[in-house]
Amino acid sequence: MTEIRTIHRRRRLALGALGVAAAMLVSGCNASTSTGGAASQTGSGSSGQAAGSANKPTITLVTNSWEGSLANNVVAQYVIEHDLHYPVKLIDLSEIPAWPATAKGQVSAVLEEWGHANQYQRYVVGNHQVINAGQEGPLGNIGWYVPTYLMKAHPELATWKGVQKDWKMFVTPQSAPQGQFLDGSPSYVTNDAALMKNLHINMKVIYAGSEAAQLTEIKTAYKQKKPIIFYWYTPQYENAIYKFSQVKLPPWTTACAKLPAAKVNCAYPPYDLYKIENAKLPSTAPAVAAFIKRFHWTSGDQDQVAYDMAVKKMSDTAAAKAFVSSHASLVSSWLHGSDTKIVVPPPGT
């Protein structure tokens, strides 16, 4: 019962704030900054926060399909609403559509970007409709993982050479006669197929097509303690539930980064996750624009909030509140500190 209410409450909060947007629209305000979303004027949900936000634009943050992205947003929403008194709404959107939406101002900011060098080129470098809001904090670590029980049983899997040797254990009907390597969401650009070829590993990459499908498959194997090897990344709250161990690939080098995609033979680059915001945000909501440029935390922080919501079934607000009240100095640095350092997505990501 609780999880449904959780979603419900999360909605109510977001929706309540959005009600203001709806009212503005009806009264003829500029639609381009405040359209869309599920608006609902809840009687009680957000009256406290809305008190000081009479003439302030709604801040729209994009939640991507992973729970960490939601963790960023609920905490940011809590702070923006309570300390900066702007109404906030969260919308669920795929990563790519989020870019044009941010460019047009329909989205105020995205707090976690993994790569997306093409979009960066088009909207940040190209037409200046989006600005780089600096480093988010967590280092995205993409790579090959196996469940820890498997790593214990087969210590040689610590490096790719072990995989090269043990490929038979990963054979499935889908990949037969080769071993199966499980890739996830199509939104992640992966080098796995090239790696198999260039590292001479007799495995076939099976694209799960969605992260939900990939996770389901991993969980099924995990339940039965079966061998499985897959593309995975941190930060990821599931890592708090399931024990995965990383398989070492040949180290990433700048030389390797320059290779064409089909020739890649090294590990994934470390992703310095970064934030983006609409270019007009500093003028329409200066306090929020500044906050976003200062927002910075660790993957541990993020995992904790995500875990609270997804596993402990805490409501979004409760999880955010718990985090904010136990990290006062951190939050203060977001409000009064300095901008985070600018990081640029490496090409090909």
């Binding site: 639609a31 009907p173 889908q174 199509p186």
Partner: protein, 667 residues
């Protein structure tokens, strides 16, 4: 609720000139110089294939060097739109204004629903469905409204409801005049039909990015995406309704000196009303089937709940939201269906009754809002089925997944291995190994056989287009899955359809299950499918199979029911056993419907290709998803268009067969 079936019947009726015209050798010019003509065209066809073979050689698939750069072209179009979106008057101002209007309408409606309070919504829904269909319909709607609240998804439901309402109204506003135009001016009709085909068959995934770029994110983009998918039925049914008005009635009106406009307004439109309402009913069902897709562009609502649940792999939550979508669809379907059924029958309520009823509703709303100070459905009153569903599913997986858990077949994992290793992979290997011109010859030949030269040319062009878009191998992967899903669907669906025809009890039992399968967003069973069948092509086949099964079952039952009773009785009178009756009379006579079952099943399986792509089945579905997720618009669109082309090929093959195969023209 045989949504798609009815559409196809309608389509056939609209453009079928006569059963004979589609039969081979019966083309307009054939009676006088058939033999020579036939020989020449046959020779020509062989020459074309031989030339194609000589040009590309005996290599598997389609030559990669024949690449006109379709995908690249689409992508640059996308880039151009992005670049000029602000400066171009049409792209910027006109579309911007449309977006604004759509957003204002949706948000206004949602605010109004919220203002009405949940009690008010309950009262209004009850009153409206009572007017449409009486007490049964009204109580069903009321129960549904209550469930919306109890599920804990009240806000989401209202958001979805307002979005759907605006999308449906938009569809009617555009679709109705278009349907009239298509009926009145033949060229418009001819132009509109393929466009509607593409709108209905092209996966929304393939055009979500440009829709987002052009229209504002959130509701406007969601409405436009829904509109594109949902508008075809109302155009088709309006056209159908008007074109099937009896010539004698129109003649009578003309005899009294009515002008063309008067005939349209006073005779044709009123007589077509029933058909138009059927179209509206279809629009509603189609719109509700893309709720989740609309949420991909940030519309929120129930679709969002499904997506959020998927993100954290919580089937129970996804299922809860899915059920709410299904119930909402069923309530709207029943009310609109009942309303359509009432047209032309007596029993209209008097103006006084209406005033009283709506007056009462307004009073309830005012009392609830101002008097009781109610708002959204109380969140304390929720009933969660999420945890039991998750537990049940987990238990089921433990029971069914392992081998030896089911007699003979083994567990679902064995079944999955068998299908992959012994069915799908070999089939795919064969299809992949075929040179493209062999496929051209087979498809073109079949088209010729079933529909004459014109059809052969059309289908041949489709094959070549798929090749030129450079998605040949993905298409063969998808094709193998479509074929297997089709065969399995028929193997399961036809016996079920027969059982439902034979036994009322089975029919009654099956009906809600089929309704559920047909309206449940496929995203909901994405995880269960993987739970039981593992990531891969079998999961894709099963997902499509589940979605398309209702069409196969329903068309079979419908076909058997359509067999004239006197013919069946004649069989009985001569002492045929039940089996003899089925095999010698009922099934042969239901053949047009069985072909419809094949046709519809393929169309629905193709509609599910995207979901197949989401569970690791690869193929065109995966390419379309990648197109959206990685900003490869051109690749996504070409894959999407290939799905459309596959659809056209299958559709024309199965439709043509059923027409040419009517008994009159068989000599």
């Amino acid at each position: 609720m045989l949504a798609h079936g009815e559409i196809a019947v309608a389509e056939g009726a609209v453009d079928a000139p006569s059963p004979r015209a589609a039969a081979p050798g019966n083309g307009p010019s054939s009676p006088h110089r058939p033999a020579v003509c036939w020989l020449l065209s046959a020779g020509g066809a062989v020459a074309v294939v031989a030339a194609a073979a000589a040009l590309s050689g005996f290599h598997a698939g389609f030559p990669a060097r024949w690449n006109p750069g379709v995908a690249g072209g689409f992508s640059s179009l996308d880039n151009w739109v992005t670049a000029h979106q602000q400066s171009n008057f049409f792209l910027g101002t006109v579309i911007g204004d449309i977006s604004t209007v759509l957003a204002v309408c949706t948000n206004g409606l949602l605010s109004f629903l919220t203002w009405m309070t949940w009690v008010g919504v309950l009262a209004a829904a009850g009153a409206a469905s009572w007017l449409a269909g009486g007490w049964r319909t009204a109580s069903f709607s009321a129960v549904v409204v209550a469930v919306l609240g109890l599920s804990g998804l009240w806000g989401e439901s209202m958001a979805t409801l307002s979005l759907m309402a605006v999308a449906i109204i938009l569809s009617v506003l555009v679709g109705l005049p278009l349907g009239v135009a298509a009926a009145v001016w033949r060229p418009v009709g001819q132009l509109v039909r393929p466009v509607l085909d593409v709108m209905q068959m092209l996966p929304s995934y393939a055009y979500l990015v440009p829709v987002v770029i052009l229209f504002s994110i959130g509701n406007p983009a969601g409405i436009v995406a829904t509109f594109i998918y949902a508008v075809p039925p109302i155009v088709r049914f309006t056209q159908l309704g008007i074109t099937t008005v009896g010539g004698d009635v129109v003649e009578a009106a003309a005899a009294f000196g009515a002008t063309r406009g008067q005939v349209l307004r006073k005779v044709e439109l009123p007589l077509a009303l029933q058909s138009i309402l059927l179209g509206l009913n279809q629009v509603i069902m189609m719109a509700l089937s893309v709720v989740v897709i609309a949420s991909l562009v940030g519309t929120g609502g129930l679709g969002d709940s499904v997506l959020q649940a998927l993100n954290v792999v919580n089937v129970g939550d996804a299922f809860t939201a899915g059920i709410v979508i299904v119930l909402m669809a069923m309530a709207l379907d029943r009310s609109s269906g009942a309303f359509g059924g009432r047209i032309g029958r007596s029993g209209r309520r008097s103006a006084r009754q209406l005033a009283l009823l709506w007056g009462a509703v307004v009073l309830v709303v005012l009392a609830a809002h101002y008097g009781a100070g109610l708002g959204d459905f109380p969140s304390g009153w929720s009933l969660s089925v999420s945890t039991p569903i998750n537990t049940a599913l987990s238990t089921l997986q433990n029971r069914l997944y392992h081998f030896a858990s089911i007699p003979v077949v083994g567990g679902t994992s064995n079944l999955s291995s068998f299908l992959t290793l012994d069915v799908l992979n070999p089939l795919q290997r064969v299809l992949t190994a075929l040179p493209w011109w062999v496929v051209l010859a087979v498809v073109g030949g079949a088209g010729w056989l079933f529909g004459g030269l014109r059809r052969a040319l059309l289908l041949g062009a489709c094959v070549v287009a798929i090749g030129l878009m450079q998605v040949w191998s993905a298409t063969t992967v998808t094709l193998s899955q479509v074929v297997v899903a089709l065969v399995l669907d028929l193997l399961i669906g036809i016996p079920l359809g027969i059982a439902a025809y034979r036994s009322r009890a089975v029919d009654r039992l099956l009906r809600p299950v089929l309704d559920l399968l047909q309206t449940m967003p496929a995203f909901v069973y994405l995880i269960p499918v993987v739970l039981f069948f593992s990531v891969g092509n079998v999961a894709g086949v099963v997902a499509s199979l589940v979605y398309a099964l209702p069409a196969a079952v329903r068309a079979t039952t419908l076909g058997l029911r359509s067999v004239p009773v006197d013919v069946v009785e004649a069989g009985d009178a001569f002492g045929a056993t039940a089996r003899q009756r089925l095999g010698k009379i009922e099934l042969p006579l239901a053949r047009p419907y069985l072909l419809l079952a094949v046709n519809q099943t393929i169309m629905l399986v193709l509609a599910e290709v995207i979901v197949a792509g989401l569970v690791g089945a690869g193929g065109l579905g995966y390419s379309v998803v990648v197109g959206l997720e990685r900003d490869q618009f051109g690749q996504g669109l070409t894959a999407g268009l290939s799905i459309v082309l596959l659809g056209v090929i299958f559709d024309r093959l199965t439709q043509g067969r059923s027409r040419a195969g009517t008994f009159t023209s068989a000599t």
